[in-house]
């Protein structure tokens, strides 16, 4: 995993970081919206 990351072009690393931030944000939003179901 570390080796894979260390050989990733900058553009892909930025895309990965952006996807990670989006995933955290969307998960938080979905959890907020669904909290009434719990």
């Amino acid at each position: 995993m570390t080796r894979w990351l260390s050989h990733l072009p900058l553009r892909r690393r930025i895309a990965l970081a952006y996807a990670g931030l989006n995933a955290v944000g969307l998960l938080a939003l979905i959890a907020f919206a669904l909290r009434g179901l719990v």
């Binding site: 072009p9 553009r11 952006y18 907020f32 179901l37």
Partner: protein, 439 residues
């Protein structure tokens, strides 16, 4: 502060209002309504956090990279715009005026015009601002005009967005959450004021004078500045600065350029500038003695704090500017590490400081390879573009994998070179590049 901690801080700021809304313990409405409120809250928080991703704050940019910070600024704004645009359409509860007994707005969405209009303005401005930023080049705005509109538009969106949530938001009616919104807005506007007011004020105390403007290649100039007062500009070779010549620092008239001088050679700072855009077209007309201001230094394209066994510089066109600074600094310091420069241009006329590069090859042992699309018959060089074959021939053996590679040039060139170097087994951590154009 490590980059990972900065990302966690960003996430904390962006998710704090949503967490506070959750912590209020109000009875959840339908999933669609909660999604609508949550999308609005998250969008506004991301928009306010955008002001911290301007690339001008050295404590952030030094660790993450100015270009990466600015790219995240662009991308995150697009996500926030989508959330903000869909947010009003997700509500399903009744939109009639809320009766007094519905204190927590469990059954009615706030419909008062006084609460809605600020949101409508922000709702219209935000996608317009994002689209204008994406299409900036195609729209043909002057850089200075665009920058002013972008800053002003962003401040209006932040202000109207917070006003809207304070008046209309079910969760923002909570006083604690209201104070958090105001605090986040205050931080955002302070961040903007830091760039447009505080930094120019600091620049007034550190004026520069243009010493000379010399032609160094076809439509390319080297501008030399000297401090007009006694102060030190602590930069590292390869960094860049926002340069403002002949204008007040309180305005949008500044452009980023790589520094081509070496800090070890004295207080003068040089920039290599090619005639490409609005300001650069007139750079050859700048008179010695003109007043100038610098915001910087910025950027992480520096080699002196890396202990790689060798340094390879790969430049295209005016991308030679930071490379000249790095080569001059290595020479001034007597750095004995092997260096190589691959320098691509269309024609021989575009080669900057050819004599100095030859001197560097002769006296400092720098391996200089010119790559020209249209070479003259008399010149020994590679022909065409900087290809994987050229890179493989120069850096293909195992010893070169640990070298440090510095790239500067057109985006397509940098992407191709980076991919080729990674294919040769060079770890991406050994490749330094700064690019400000991704779309």
């Amino acid at each position: 502060m490590p980059a990972g901690l900065l990302i966690l801080l960003y996430l904390f700021a962006a998710l704090l209002p949503l967490g506070l809304a959750w912590a209020q313990g109000l009875e959840p409405r339908s999933i669609a309504d909660e999604l609508a409120s949550g999308a609005g809250i998250l969008a506004l928080a991301v928009i306010l956090a955008e002001f911290l991703l301007l690339g001008r704050y050295r404590f952030v940019a030094r660790r993450v990279g100015t270009d990466i910070v600015m790219r995240m600024h662009q991308l995150l704004a697009r996500g926030a715009a989508i959330l903000a645009v869909v947010h009003p359409f997700l509500y399903t509860t009744r939109r009639a005026p809320a009766p007094d007994w519905d204190v927590n707005r469990q059954f009615f969405v706030m419909q008062d015009f006084a609460a809605i209009w600020p949101g409508m303005i922000a709702w219209l401005l935000l996608p317009a601002l994002v689209l204008m930023a994406i299409g900036r080049n195609a729209l043909g705005y002057r850089y200075e005009t665009w920058r002013l509109m972008h800053g002003l538009g962003a401040a209006l969106i932040a202000g109207f967005g917070v006003l809207h949530t304070l008046r209309a938001g079910r969760y923002s009616a909570d006083p604690a959450m209201g104070y958090v919104w105001l605090a986040l807005l205050g931080i955002a506007l302070f961040a903007l004021a830091y760039v447009y007011v505080l930094t120019p004020l600091a620049q007034l105390r550190r004026p520069w004078t243009v010493s000379s403007v010399d032609p160094v290649a076809e439509r390319t100039w080297e501008v030399t500045l000297r401090p007009a007062r006694d102060f030190a500009f602590g930069y590292r070779a390869g960094q860049f600065a926002w340069l403002n010549i002949r204008n007040t620092p309180f305005g949008p008239h500044e452009n980023p350029f790589s520094i081509s001088s070496a800090p070890s050679t004295g207080p003068e700072v040089r920039f290599i500038i090619k005639e490409l855009g609005d300001f650069t077209r007139t750079v050859g007309q700048v008179k010695p003695g003109s007043r100038a201001y610098l915001d910087g230094p910025h950027g992480h394209l520096t080699v002196t704090d890396h202990d790689a066994p060798g340094i390879a510089l790969i430049a295209g066109g005016v991308g030679i500017a930071p490379m000249m600074g790095i080569l001059r600094e290595l020479r001034a310091r007597g750095d004995s590490r092997p260096t190589a420069l691959i320098y691509g241009n269309r024609s021989e006329d575009q080669i900057v400081h050819r004599d100095e590069l030859e001197a560097l090859a002769r006296d400092h042992g720098t391996r200089v390879t010119h790559v020209l699309c249209e070479p003259p018959a008399s010149m020994t060089c590679e022909i065409g573009l900087i290809t994987p074959e050229i890179l493989s021939a120069q850096f293909g053996d195992a010893g070169h994998k640990q070298w440090l590679y510095v790239l500067c040039g057109p985006p397509a060139m940098m992407e191709a070179v980076e991919n080729a170097l990674i294919a040769l087994g060079v770890p991406s951590g050994n490749i330094l590049s700064e690019r400000f154009s991704y779309d």
